[in-house]
Symmetry: C2
Subunit: 321 residues, 2 copies
């Protein structure tokens, strides 16, 4: 427990996504509130949508506001009532539809709006700077639309239905076609998390049989609780040299020495196959992995300038016997 890993959720990868998102949005919200307070303004961070909506469209019904902002209507009501109490909104009954309460900005609101817009512009600029050089917006949009289309719940449910009771113990098995997808799944996750996925990766991860097994290599899977929780590949590089690659552990199972067992198993296999050495390429930022390699006897050697991977900045080797 020496160096405390500060951000566990980040370490959990895809699984931590939900809570990380909430964390960011909550923080932004809190900051917004603080900002208004320090400026001495009597508005809340979630009001700007209503302000701008009514600034553009004039009078709107409660449901319309909710629809535009994609809020459940009670939330819209809560905001509207507060704004009304603060004197920014007025409401009137719709002449033809008696149920409808049409809300609109008061003179106070219209007077203050330019000031608020100025502040929102500043905030907008901050967000622009924070998201500069990223595709956060396009990606977020894509995420939202995919998410709205596909039913997350039912998809996850069906995936779950394949659950079968199996021993808890860790077992390590060689490649079999039925786990080919897991090979990709495990590795795409950490690649995605730390680097960008390179073309060379796609080939191997999507076609392990043809790119690794058929060329004289081997892949091992760590199985636990009934599914694949770790992978490692030995790629035949020379008649007596393996490259060790695609070593990945499912985030949920990290910290359980599974990587170590997998690595030792692979080394043992290489030795039994009569190979002279195993080498690997990695990145210095992946300290836990490097420690593991070191512990297993790998030593740093000169970097290969012709590596097909951009992310690799270190090469290690282990001589067998």
């Amino acid at each position: 427990m020496e160096t405390i890993q500060k951000d566990f959720l980040q370490e959990l990868g895809y699984l931590g996504f939900t809570m990380r998102l909430k964390r960011i949005s909550d923080k932004l919200m809190q900051d917004g509130r603080r900002l208004y307070q320090s400026l001495g303004l009597d508005i809340e961070p979630n009001w700007y949508g209503v302000f701008l909506l009514l600034d553009r469209y004039g009078k709107l019904g409660v449901m319309e506001v909710a629809d535009y902002l994609q809020l459940a209507h009670p939330s819209a009501i809560a905001i509207i009532n507060k704004m009304e109490k603060a004197g920014y909104l007025l409401a009137e009954r719709d002449a033809i539809d008696q149920r409808k309460r049409r809300v609109f900005l008061t003179a106070k609101a219209k007077e203050k709006l330019p000031v608020y817009k100025k502040i929102w512009s500043a905030g907008t600029e901050s967000v622009r700077q924070l998201t500069a050089l990223t595709n956060l917006f396009a990606d977020l949009k894509r995420f939202e639309s995919h998410y709205n289309n596909s039913d997350f719940t039912s998809r996850t449910l069906s995936a779950h239905s394949q659950y079968e009771t199996t021993p808890r113990e860790l077992s390590i098995i060689p490649f079999s076609e039925k786990y080919a997808d897991d090979f990709g799944r495990i590795n795409y996750e950490w690649l995605h998390m730390y680097f960008k996925v390179e073309p060379h990766d796609y080939e191997m991860l999507d076609h392990p049989q043809s790119y690794i097994i058929d060329k004289g290599g081997q892949i091992f899977f760590a199985l636990c609780d009934g599914f694949v929780v770790g992978t490692v590949a030995l790629i035949l590089k020379d008649k007596d040299v393996y490259e060790l690659s695609k070593m990945g552990i499912a985030p949920m199972y990290k910290g359980k020495k599974i990587g170590e067992k997998l690595l030792l198993y692979a080394i043992d296999y290489a030795r039994k196959e009569g190979k002279k050495s195993v080498y690997l390429e990695s990145n210095t930022s992946l300290t836990p992995a490097l420690n593991l390699y070191h512990k297993a006897g790998f030593v740093e050697v000169a970097n290969d300038p012709d590596t097909p991977y951009e992310r690799c900045d270190i090469r290690m080797e282990l001589l067998l016997n």
Copy 2:
């Protein structure tokens, strides 16, 4: 108000970021809860962090849990207490530090964990699919670290301090160096939102003076409430032909006919300069803009196969006099 723009927050661009983020994270949370309910499980969507944390590290104090998950400690306490009540957690006093309450997983938790992990894996896979082909994770990480470093509040505050009371009315003025940054600000926003920014864009947006003005073109700014809310550029393409480009309105000021005024003003200028025609390149997905162009008299002509912009799939022209 013909076609109701469904997502107002998306339309607001950077400004809508906060609420969109909250919307997504809340939705994910709700879905998680529904998922567990339909599976008949007595766990909550925000428990997985604690489960996996204790699975890895064994016994931890309340504050440690809070730190790892980056939660305020009352939140951690709330989760821990519920999990304890549900029988998943037990607590004991630390032998040396009497204040410390060390929590750990019960036998029930350890027994159920494989099942839950299976479900979380399925959820993980769903997130992977939803974020495939995006850089959401790398970008989110970058956003988080930038955000944690720079003080959003104080930055926005200082930007706000430049506020000066100015007339509410819209005015249109020609290029001046002091608004050069605004030219970039306004245009980067919509480019970022709808497309990816192309190299050609950076040049022009960062150096309007040399790339547009000095080459015989002109830029107009719409000013309102004391700051720039819209831009349009006329680029000299031929001795009597302008290309109309970089037409953008700050999201907060959309729907106020500012674009229309700016466009007519630019056309008028071109006419006064004695040009024969103005053409523009755009994208068919930008319906509101296309309507505007159409209304101003632009007609669709054959597309230019040599356009420097990837995003453009339509070309329109307006003959003057």
